[in-house]
């Protein structure tokens, strides 16, 4: 599972790194959590960083689903993900992610990142969902009919795969990290070919270190969360 990540790279550097302009000002984030609107870059519109809600809801669903991860091994054939895998892939800019390891005395959070803390992309899928019907309010009927606005929700999920050696000691899954030269392939490549990108990232340049349990609560989101702590 990948259920929390960081994205506190300087916004200017992030724009340059991904060659994409954000739809709204980027904020430094130390605790990105499911349910939040976070920047993604879609194959449909690769020059923009759009803000989608983390937790995928397929277009055909009757109600919100909130699927935060998809398994690389089955993503091309599970009903919830197959359509998005075929035609709605995205990059999720990240500069580290948290994993919780059970060290015998309860689960402790660790941060995994590049040694130089550089940003990277994890492989994602996105969907646009429209609520089939919308509950109106009585106030809309004071004069004339209801508003015609429909309620549209844009969501994304992060693909996970087998962990590399560094992460396997923490958790049995890891997010699919894409090498920079494979990002365009992930967005635009043939679905049958891009499956080869969904491999564990080599651990040579990665580091992991324990962080404060304050990260457990998504309401905490400040620079101290990424400080290493001694165990």
């Amino acid at each position: 599972m990948c259920g929390r990540y960081t994205l506190y790279t300087d916004p200017k550097r992030l724009r340059e790194r991904f060659d994409a302009e954000p739809d709204r000002p980027l904020e430094r984030r130390y605790n990105c959590a499911p349910g939040q609107e976070l920047p993604v870059i879609t194959g449909e519109d690769p020059d923009r960083m759009q803000f989608f809600k983390w937790g995928l809801t397929p277009a055909w669903a009757d109600e919100e689903q909130g699927l935060i991860n998809a398994r690389a091994e089955t993503v091309d054939r599970k009903r919830s993900f197959a359509d998005a895998y075929e035609s709605r892939r995205c990059l999720v800019p990240v500069d580290g992610f948290y994993e919780w390891a059970d060290r015998g005395d309860g689960k402790r959070p660790y941060r995994v990142a590049f040694e130089d803390d550089r940003p990277f992309a994890v492989a994602g899928l996105w969907e646009r969902w429209e609520e089939p019907t919308r509950q109106t309010g009585l106030a809309e009927f004071g004069s004339g009919g209801a508003n015609e606005d429909s309620s549209t929700l844009e969501t994304f999920t992060i693909i996970t795969t087998e962990p590399n050696d560094l992460i396997s000691e923490l958790h049995h899954r890891m997010a699919v990290m894409l090498p920079p030269d494979c990002e365009a392939d992930w967005l635009h490549g043939d679905p049958e070919a891009v499956v080869d990108l969904l491999e564990p990232y080599p651990d040579d340049e990665l580091t992991r270190y324990p962080v404060s349990e304050r990260v457990n609560s998504p309401t905490n989101d400040d620079p101290s969360l990424v400080d290493p702590i001694s165990t």
Binding site: P132, T133, G137, L138, E140, F141, G145, A146, S150
Partner: protein
């Protein structure tokens, strides 16, 4: 000033019709009637209740407004047996309501009416279809729809002069057809709207099954449900906003 005696059954019917939508409400103690108008927090369902002074054994009021916790008042009313009388007397000084039921005295602290959500205006609607049916016919349609879906469609077919209660589930569907012969009355007009069953079920709970219910309906417009209780001296109108199809 408010001093009244009312049968437990009448009071319970009145409170039940409002408590399905809100926890607290303002009660207007007018000279000729006791009335409540309230809207749920999402502004989707509204109730407008009036109980004529003649529905009480005795009734004296001068137009004051009190705020009450409905659940608490229902609990107190629940202490009465069917057919018991409940006495009310408002203490203007302490803003407490003294309630007496067969030797039991209860002093209820009132809520500041200004702290309760404002009473809604009733939207002026011109709803082209009107269906009059028995409470138990409506109950049958709602109960069946609830087996398959969260939403219910109310529709009038002008050609066949029939009222339809329908629900579409993921796998199963429900369709109750009530022709003009099955109904007490039908004014056919273009009418087809979808509603949340959560709200309609709650409203249905309060509607006496043997009573006559009038349904005013339009196309993607709120539905109005009216019925009488307390031998015609109490009137309830519910209004429920529809769910509309996304573009």
């Amino acid at each position: 000033m408010f001093k009244a005696i009312v049968s437990a059954d009448t009071l319970t019917d009145a409170l039940d019709s409002v408590s399905v939508l809100v926890d607290e409400c303002k009660i207007r103690l007018n000279e000729e009637e006791f009335s409540i108008r309230a809207v749920d927090p999402a502004n989707v369902g509204m109730v407008d209740l009036s109980l004529d002074a003649a529905a009480f054994e005795s009734y004296e009021a001068d137009g004051g407004v009190i705020g009450v916790n409905l659940g608490r008042l229902q609990d107190i009313a629940g202490m009465a047996n069917s057919g018991d009388l409940i006495r009310f007397e408002l203490d203007e000084e302490t803003r407490k309501l003294h309630i007496g039921i067969d030797g039991l005295s209860y002093t209820l602290a009132l809520i500041d009416p200004d702290s309760i959500r404002q009473e809604p205006d009733i939207p002026e609607l011109d709803l082209p279809a009107q269906i009059v049916l028995e409470g138990n016919q409506l109950d049958r349609g709602i109960t069946a729809a609830d087996m398959v879906s969260d939403h219910i469609s109310l529709r009038v077919d002008e050609g066949s002069e029939a009222f339809y209660i329908e629900a579409e589930g993921d796998t199963d569907d429900v369709d109750l057809e009530l022709t003009s012969e099955d109904l007490i009355d039908l004014t056919a007009g273009p009418a087809d709207s979808l509603f949340s069953l959560d709200y309609l079920k709650d409203m249905n709970k309060a509607i006496p099954k043997a009573t006559e219910v009038t349904v005013d309906l339009g196309e993607e417009f709120p539905v109005k449900l009216h019925y009488e209780f307390a031998e015609g001296l109490g009137h309830v109108t519910y209004m429920l906003a529809p769910r509309i199809q996304s573009e």
